[in-house]
Symmetry: C2
Subunit: 269 residues, 2 copies
């Protein structure tokens, strides 16, 4: 007879933060948040005050609206994470979007999804699954996530595929044959590309960023329109992206502290 609805305060606090982060209604009053996070109002209030104390949540007394605090943003933006992928890739993204005249994305894996860590806009408006920074996409959808998936260690890759197959089919009508075909193609070419993607008129090309074990930790991805990515341009862009991805790979923990050998490379793939 365990009616334990008990969850540690930490979990519930992050439920609240996520409720704030994923909000699309613009309604973030106490009751809204309590409902969306599955808490009683009194519990939600106490936790929110704790979060406000930590600077993670701001409260607009006038309109009675809670929102994620600037402190949170500051903390992350200033995170002097050496080997921080986003900082390492920022100049690469800027340079590539300037020279290629297209939009560049940096994607990393997060569980069974890929998350957009950064993007740099080109002059042409595009649509993408990844969307803005922080945007998520199921691994298997879009060139970027496929590039990562293809270069995951086999056991992990299989786990991701098995978990994602139902939602890949439900949400995108992608089946196992298609996914495995894509992965095989990416592993052969060293890059992911489809001029006829799931978004009409949109095309993209992506390469993995590998860690020192040769496993994908992220992907460098370019999004553009179908007519801007013809058969002629594709291998050229692929080469440029590969080269940049290798540069980044070498910068991510340049030497393994144990093995003392340089990072893995995609050369010859």
């Amino acid at each position: 007879m365990d009616k334990s609805q008990a969850k540690p305060a930490l979990t519930r606090s992050f439920d609240l933060l996520r409720a704030l982060a994923t909000d699309e209604s613009g309604e973030n009053r106490l009751t809204d948040l309590a409902r969306r996070a599955g808490l009683t109002p009194s519990t939600a209030l106490r936790l929110l005050r704790g979060l406000i104390n930590e600077g993670m949540v701001d409260y607009d007394e006038g309109r009675r609206q809670y929102r994620l605090g600037i402190e949170f943003f500051t903390l992350a933006a200033r995170a002097g994470n050496p080997g921080n992928l986003r900082d390492l890739c920022r100049p690469v993204l800027l340079r590539l979007s300037a020279t290629l005249h297209d939009t560049l994305f940096l994607l990393v894996r997060s569980g069974f999804d890929a998350v957009c860590l950064d993007r740099s806009e080109g002059p042409f408006p595009i649509r993408s699954f990844t969307g803005d920074i922080g945007g998520r996409v199921i691994m298997g959808v879009g060139q970027g996530s496929v590039a990562i998936l293809a270069f995951l260690p086999e056991a992990e890759r299989e786990e991701v595929i098995r978990f994602n197959l139902p939602r890949l089919y439900d949400q995108h009508r992608l089946d196992e044959v298609f996914i495995r075909g894509e992965i095989a193609a990416v592993r052969k070419l060293g890059y992911a590309s489809r001029s006829s993607g799931l978004l009409p008129g949109m095309a993209g090309i992506a390469v993995p960023i590998l860690d020192r074990e040769g496993q994908a930790v992220a992907a460098l991805s370019m999004g553009t329109t179908t007519e801007r990515l013809n058969g002629e341009r594709m291998p050229i862009v692929a080469d440029i992206l590969k080269r940049e991805a290798e540069t980044v790979s070498r910068l991510v923990n340049p030497f393994d502290p144990v093995l003392r050998r340089p990072a893995a490379s995609l050369s010859g793939v």
Copy 2:
């Protein structure tokens, strides 16, 4: 004899996150974090595992290093974005830095400071108080924060001035007469500018972004060198910035949900 060392788990968890975010040593093993966050190893371990479950912290088993997780950055990317200001201003910043050939900043107020929400680099290297994204500056220092300060409601403005005067003097040798003079000038002109700033050789110009009550919520700021911002160019740039700021103002919650009237404007200031 209250030796109460008790602190809620939430606080301690954020102590750990801050320890991770502000780390400069690159040493983030359990003991390091426990020491820096002021926790016992067993407490730190339990909390870190909770944070890992939430995706806020990643653990590299091989090297026994903790680091901030993707969820943390995902949440942070959604934070500090009142009214979607950052997203709304991103294209404006890109456009302006391209056409003006200078570096653009988006600043918002955070308590008694201003925080850099975004920036877009121009071709000329500049120095600024704001520094990088996430950087802070005392309200009253630099054109951007003064632009916000000048268009705060009077009571709030006075509160900020009173609080900040000691540190403005301690850190920057700015006294009350100077600050009040600046504010008066900004309110008269509608923009903040100093060709001879506190940073030798650096100049800047900033305009407030107003909410529907006519109160500053943010500032659009251009940073450049003294020789690039002469008396001739200044009013031109000011006009361009003002126009962009008004566009943004109108987009930030275009209609008040209660009053149903458009956002305030700086026209005629």
